[in-house]
Symmetry: C2
């Protein structure tokens, strides 16, 4: 069987170049191709959409040649947001010699404050002058806000290349593609195949990621394809699914204040949708998240989270915990398990919660992190 190989190129696969720079709280990242790319995109479902979301939603219809993104300010809920978002496109278009209508723009940061266009313009000038081929760490770093590490991955599978960068790590809820995530590929597929692949991959990855359950005004996920590699849509999906799950885990691990990654696998659901709902409920629950932080085997909170969103037969419910430290059954056939063993499992860093509802074949996995004093501190002070 052909394996997926990591390639270390970030979004700079094929003819894509990228760059980024920071100036205090502000940062600008640019990703560019030498020609206009097919683009599939998913946006926040928040009804208060930031100006860059509104502008990009129109522009992606024309195909995209470059993405320009800033951190430090969301350009959301301000009186001149639309004008500023369009100006960002115009400035980037000029600097990159690209048509303005082929620019996707994205912003992330505080809501309701005026964008400092002077800083953004200077950063676009700086970044556009020095785009690199072959790797994208500066772009990945430039979009970070409360992220503590950059999120970047690229893979090769049967000649198909897929690369991505993303930023989290608060106001993260699976209302759609979460946060900012930019994906590039060489796969030569139709607009419909790209969109369907992106939607399907996001539904099992970014759309199952919860840091705090707050839905951003700015989330967007762009997939740009330069179309230089003929391939099957199925093979492309395989590579794209892998990339988005890995990006999702990176985002979860680095959730604001997080000390542990949480994955919730729900199996045996009456339907896949019920399994999805339960998996999300587990990683959303502040009580589950604080218990994991405290390495406290309070599995009753997992049961309560599932019971709050689905009909559960207690006698059929099974709960297991797994980590790099081993595995523990905490509930089976109505009987609690060994709490000492569960505590040992929870001392691991990557916690998998497996819930078997034993009432069908529905299954789903959700991603999240623990809730810590660090999360509170970051968000009490964020501006």
């Amino acid at each position: 069987m052909t394996e997926i190989k990591l390639t270390g190129r970030g979004v700079c696969i094929g003819g894509f170049t990228a760059g980024g720079a920071k100036d205090g709280k502000y940062g600008v990242a640019i990703i560019k191709n030498n020609s206009v790319c097919r683009c599939a995109a998913l946006f926040t479902r928040n009804s208060l959409k930031a100006a860059p979301v509104l502008v990009s939603r129109e522009n992606v219809k024309n195909g995209i040649q470059a993405i320009v993104a800033n951190s430090g300010n969301a350009n959301a809920c301000t009186p001149n947001g639309l004008a500023d978002a369009k100006k960002m496109c115009r400035i980037a278009a000029g600097a990159l010699s690209v048509d303005e209508k082929n620019i996707a723009v994205a912003s992330t940061g505080i809501i309701g404050r005026l964008l400092d266009m002077g800083k953004v313009e200077a950063l676009i000038g700086e970044v556009s002058g020095g785009l690199s081929a072959g790797k994208s760490p500066d772009a990945a770093r430039a979009i970070m806000t409360t992220d503590t590490v950059k999120k970047e991955i690229s893979v090769e599978y049967k000649g198909i290349e897929v690369g991505a960068i993303a930023k989290g790590v608060g106001m993260v809820c699976p209302g759609m593609a979460t946060v900012l995530c930019f994906v590039t590929t060489n796969a030569n597929l139709s607009d419909a195949e790209l969109y369907e692949s992106l939607k399907s991959a996001a539904d099992s990855s970014l759309n199952m990621l919860i840091v705090d359950g707050d839905m951003s005004t700015n989330d967007c996920l762009f997939l740009l394809s330069e179309g230089t590699k003929k391939c099957s849509a199925l093979d492309f999906r395989h590579a794209l699914d892998y990339v988005l799950v890995e990006i999702t885990k990176m985002l979860a691990r680095d959730g604001e204040g997080a000390t542990k990654l949480i994955e919730a696998d729900v199996i045996g659901g009456e339907t896949p949708e019920i399994a999805r709902t339960c998996a999300r409920a587990i990683v959303t629950s502040p009580l589950v998240k604080t218990a994991i932080y405290g390495e406290n085997p309070n599995w009753g909170r997992i049961a309560a989270a599932v019971g709050s969103v689905a009909d559960v037969d207690f006698e059929n419910l099974e709960i297991r915990l797994k980590s790099e430290n081993g595995e523990a059954t905490t509930l089976k056939k109505g009987q609690g398990g060994d709490l000492k063993q569960a505590e040992a499992v929870l001392r691991g860093k990557e916690i998998l919660i497996i819930v078997n509802m034993n009432s069908g074949n529905g299954k789903a996995r959700a991603f999240g992190c623990d809730l810590t004093p660090g999360y509170v501190k970051i968000n009490a002070e964020y501006n």
Copy 2:
């Protein structure tokens, strides 16, 4: 206009007596009348209902003469929960000379651990021997878990008396009556009038209270009426609404780790249901809650919370903040307001967030508290 008067009797109005005692983590409270009372009740909507909920749901149909409640253990998700809940009724029935089928039982504490029936039996014996008339502080204290203060109130209005005790203060979500809350009255009303009054009062109070969004397996709200006072249902509702709103505020103020009470008033909603959804979204949002904790006027998070659950026209959205320190408009006609003034308002202890959607007459109020490192600490360690 007749005023509502505070009477300082707790649940010990009319012929009700009460008592309570603690033994380490365990506590038992008993409320008793000299005859069988009409009883209206609301229970958790969690599908994993604790054993005492299942037992009480049956017994309330017979009328209730006494409530027995324990803290320290939820008697939920254990193999012998039902037997233990029934045993609690039987023990209380014997000790109080009351028919077993007229006992309501309730439990609160950790889920999934066996109830220590020895402790419960000893405490029932101790408490039943010394029930007091006229006041109920021991009962209010005996049901506390992570509560830092007891919740107790009683009022008189046109000769109608209503008294209540309650406990919170984590795993609080408005899936129904929240937490444990026991209400007594002398109002002589039909079963249907009592139930409708209770449902309506809970919908504007306990059902709009969110501490963390986790729904308990054990919540129950009992209303016992001894029927000694003929009155209009409307007058009774007036008194009951007052009592439940006050209890709700006590619970919110004492939410786990809380330093501030948050009330969210949404007005101008297209429908009352939309206003309710938005008000709940605001007090649920971890980002709004941490901002309030940090006295950080990040009103964009309030806008984002509303936008995540309802269609919002940004130009029409108004956001004001009020507290004992004054008032600040933070958003109006698309323009942000004075952040220094907003910061001053947020240094208050009781924060009112007023959101006008300017798109109809729907209005609703939700209750909550800030999210603090204290919440995380309490729940990382709770057992």
